[in-house]
């Protein structure tokens, strides 16, 4: 049960970071509790609600269910805080679509929603097609405020700017 503390290093939002912590501690806690990066939210801790969705090497992942030991020195982690930098702008087009449509209510799930949306658009682009209702139905992120209709509209809108 006892896991020795070890040193872990990776790229976080464009900067190299190093933490000393037991290797089984999940990335969400490394980000939030040790590095103070609080954009990714806790909603379940068991890879269900997707509120913590962030990117690793440009693809979505769920930090609540990844031990820090699985992250290597060359891995590039992007949280919502670093998303605009990936396109070299003040805001990512998906964030702009979110503002245009006033998607957020309480806002708690929104960082995860936006990171998942960007990933979905990249995925369907790679498959050379447009987003369908079935794609949107496949998103597992929960919004307990129920702003889903605006989420769906904003993802389509944001895709146009990507």
């Amino acid at each position: 049960m006892a896991v020795a503390t070890s040193r872990h290093t990776f790229l976080l939002n464009g900067e190299r970071v190093t933490v000393d912590v037991a290797g089984n501690v999940r990335m969400l806690w490394v980000l939030r509790d040790l590095l103070g990066v609080t954009g990714p939210k806790y909603g379940c801790g068991i890879n269900v609600c997707k509120a913590c969705t962030s990117h690793i090497n440009g693809r979505a992942f769920n930090p609540c269910s990844v031990p820090v030991s699985k992250i290597g020195p060359d891995d590039e982690i992007t949280t919502i805080e670093g998303l605009p930098d990936t396109v070299g702008r003040e805001l990512h087009p998906m964030q702009e679509a979110w503002l245009d449509l006033d998607v957020a209510q309480c806002g708690y799930c929104q960082p995860g929603q936006i990171m998942a949306a960007v990933d979905l658009v990249k995925k369907v682009r790679a498959e050379g097609r447009a987003i369908t209702d079935a794609d949107l139905d496949g998103l597992r992120n929960i919004c307990r405020c129920g702003t889903y209709p605006r989420l769906r509209e904003a993802i389509r809108e944001g895709a146009k700017g990507m």
Binding site: W29, V48, Y108, R144, T147
Partner: protein
Amino acid sequence: MTETRAPLEIGRRRVVGYLLAAPTLAVAVRVGLDGALPEIAGAVPTPPGPADIFDLNDLLTLAAKPTAQLMRLEVRPDGTAHFELPRSENGQGIVTSTAMIIAEELDLPVGKVEVTLSDARPELLFNQLTGGSNTTVSTWKPIRTLAAVARGRLLEAAAEQTGASVGDLRTEDGAVVTAAGRRISYASLAEAAAVSSDRAFSAELKDPSDFTVVGRPHRRTDALEAVTGRKQYTMDLQVPGALPTMICRPPTINGTVGSVHNQADVEAMPGVTHVAVVSTGVAVRAATFGQCIDAVRALQVDWEGGTAEGQSDADVEKRLKRAQIPLVVPKLPGITKTIDTAFTFWFATNSALETNCAIADVRADGAEIWGGMKSPITAQQEIAALLGMAASKVKLHVVQGGGSFGRKLFFDAALEAAEISQAMGVPVKLMWHRTDDFRQGRVHPMSTARVRATIGAGQVLTYEQRHTSLTTDFSHGLGEIITAYSAALPVGDIGFSQTVFELSQSTHYNFGVTTQLLNEIDHSFNTSSMRHIYSPNTAVARELTVDKIAEAMGKDPYELRHRFARNARLRGVLEAVAERGSWGRRMGSYRAQGLAVHSEYHSCTAALVEIDCRPTTVGRKVRDAVTGPRVTKVVLAVDAGLAVNPKGLEAQMMGGIIDGIALVLTSSLHLRDGYFLEGSWDNYAYTREWNVPFEVDVIVMPPTTGDPGGAGELAVAPSAAATATALARATGTMPTSFPVNHDSPLHFTVKPTVPPIPQSPVNGLTQY
């Protein structure tokens, strides 16, 4: 209603506020102090029912009145205005709508109005409760008055400076403008407009026909922070020394700690700093929440039994049915026909995406608490009592919440955090695990409904509705501990529930002799109001029965509702959805439309729902999920009297629609052997993307009453009811148990109760 607000409304729009001695312009409102309060008790006319005359919102507005004068607005030397709102924002949009109201009356851009949430302010007595969709209803006039007085004083100060008369000056976009067109900014006037001693000041409210901000769509003022991850919730705050803390909770509801076998071993685990037994379990504090989870799972605890030991929801249903207040109209032979219906509504949860959480730093000489709380004064006083210190020693900060849905009316995590911080002697950042939030968190109580209607001679002669529920805990009272204690008394609680029920249940139709009664039993469960309180259940029962009445009378559901609807506003929203939604259009087999209306909180709504129950739709396979019938389209019309922010109102309607669908089709807690089986968002099937309608059309009706009605909860009941009526019409069978999938085989494997929370998996890179 009799106008009793004479001192407030001197002329038609003349209002009085106070200028306060301060270095910059500061204004306070005086509302209703001298006015005679309308009687709450006394003659309750029947018909119409109590809620038609004086509803829950009136009670809350009245409760808020005597202290509303203490609300304060400042105009600062940088030209911005600042207002501390004594309410709790959890996504419902009141910070934005409040900024809009101030911007409107002050002629200042919305972006220059800063609205923050007040700490607990005991001197506000009742006036710090957020609930009953009451914020805008109760603060609309006081806040307008504040801003109008500030504007009036700025005009006066500009007149003093320029030698012009006030009548020759006007305000525009954060400045006073002279007849010659010279602009004098509020920034330059803020200090000149300040006064050295308090005095009354009268001003004129804007004519609503001149509104340019109120009534027009506006985006949320915190949207940028939300989409960039910069918006801070309680668990994002960095309070020095407040390390992650969790509680190892019992395997049954309200179980208690008998003994802990391995406290020293757990204290020695990596990252763990403290372990302490508290009222609700065993608390652990560690460097990370991950290490808290490890520690909670490692604890070996003997537990004492809980308050619902051995109970299952089928047992509760039997007890509720035994407690139903009888229907009294006899079945008459001959020309009349009786329609009897009966329904069961299973447990549901108001768990938000942000789990229960709070930060506490308790020292010997005082305490500081942070959390999303809708009744902070009660919280402050109960925490003070728990800690054995004066309430004035407890500083309580209200933080924006990640959803409430009724959950944050209580402050369970704040109480626990305070207790733990005191026991450990260090600051703590307490967070509930998701599994605990479902299993040990407060629930929407199970209930049953019975309805009997008698029809004859082309009329509905009688309509009786009986609602029987497990007790809804209203012990947050009206936000203040004195009322909280009176609601905690057995008699007081029943009285308060009855009051809430009576005040929230309007009479919707001219159905002759109408009675609506509530009976509540049992205190074994941790309950609270859930968004729209009783109404989603009562409306489903009512509207399904209305469709039965229509069928029995050979009428179309729309025609019947339109003919018997109690007032023009209800008919207005009904007409709007029927037209926009093309009521009566052909849908094909296994598909149908359904209708419902609802009025509450001085607002009226109607919903038209289209549902798809084709086998290919119902049989869709999604991993770890409930699919089933899909609502494909919703048209909802809302008459909120006056929509301050139509964009925000539309958002609230959308959320209510998604809630209503969940309550009827997919979402419930299953009680077995004294605990709730659901332990994750995949177990508790709240509406997910695969359940979302493809089309949601919200019609915001033009202003009717001119005053804003309640909005935050309004759409849940009509959406739930229209989903139910659509389902009945699509399948040809009236559903009687909600959600309709409750008795189906479970779609998940039940998580263990010992240890109480699951370990985080390691599949976050691959299972996305």
